[in-house]
C-alpha cells in the first residue's frame, strides 16, 4: 500500500512529474489495474510484478506519496520504502527485531552508521551507535 493509501496511479497524468509518469508506466507493465486503490496482494508466483512495483517506487519515488508499506502474511514486521533511500522497518517487540536484523546481517546488510540526509531526525538507537563507536 502506498503511504497514505489511495490510488496507485496519478490522478492527472498530464501534469504529473516525470518520475511519477515513469512509476505509472511501470505499474502498467506489472499489470496493476488502472483504477487500483488501496493495497496490492502478491502471491509468490507474482514475484516479478512485486519487484517491478516496489522498485518503481523505491527508485523513482521523490516524496512521501511514493513511499510504500509492505507486510508479510505474518504481520509481525512493517516495512516501508522511503524516498530518503532507507528501508524502514517497525517491529512489535525486540526479539522480532533481532531476528530480522540477523537475517539482514547474514545477507551483508548491517544497520547504518549515519543518517541518509540532513532532513532526517536521528533516532536514539543510531545516536547511540555513533556515540559508542559501534559503527
Amino acid at each position: 500500500m502506498r503511504r497514505g493509501g489511495g490510488s496507485w496511479y496519478e490522478s492527472d497524468p498530464e501534469t504529473a512529474p516525470g518520475s511519477n509518469a515513469i512509476i505509472d508506466a511501470l505499474l502498467r507493465a506489472a499489470g496493476v489495474p488502472q483504477y487500483a486503490a488501496g493495497a496490492l496482494r502478491f502471491e509468490k508466483t507474482d514475484w516479478i510484478a512485486l519487484n517491478i512495483v516496489v522498485l518503481a517506487h523505491y527508485v523513482h519515488g521523490w516524496s512521501v506519496g511514493e513511499d510504500l508499506h509492505m507486510f508479510g502474511e505474518e504481520r509481525d514486521c512493517a516495512i516501508m520504502t522511503s524516498h530518503h533511500g532507507e528501508l524502514r522497518v517497525a517491529f512489535p517487540n525486540q526479539p522480532r527485531l533481532e531476528r530480522f536484523r540477523e537475517h539482514m546481517l547474514r545477507a551483508g546488510y548491517d544497520l547504518p552508521a549515519q543518517l541518509p540526509d540532513v532532513t532526517f531526525k536521528s533516532p536514539a538507537w543510531l545516536t547511540g551507535r555513533t556515540r559508542h563507536g559501534i559503527a
Binding site: 493509501g5 488501496g38 509481525d76 533511500g85 517497525a90
Partner: protein
C-alpha cells in the same frame, strides 16, 4: 495480484496491532501499538543491481515462509 480495498486492509493491519504512529498520524507512519518507537532502517549498497536483492532480503526477513 489482487487489489484489496483500504477499508479492508487497514482493519487487517489493526488486528495485528499495526496503526499510524500516534505522534505522526497525518504522515501515515505505520508502527506497532505494542511499541510505537521500535523501528530500525537499513540502506542498500551503492551498486544499483543490488537493489532487487536488498528488497527481497527484507521481504524474506519479514515473511520467511
Amino acid at each position: 495480484m489482487q487489489v484489496i480495498a483500504e477499508s479492508t486492509f487497514r482493519p487487517w493491519l489493526a488486528a495485528a496491532g499495526i496503526r499510524p504512529h500516534s505522534r505522526f498520524q497525518s504522515s501515515d507512519v505505520l508502527v506497532f501499538e505494542q511499541d510505537e518507537d521500535l523501528s530500525r532502517f537499513w540502506f542498500p549498497s551503492f551498486v544499483p543491481s543490488d537493489l532487487p536483492g536488498f528488497v527481497l532480503t527484507a521481504l524474506k526477513a519479514a515473511s520467511p515462509d
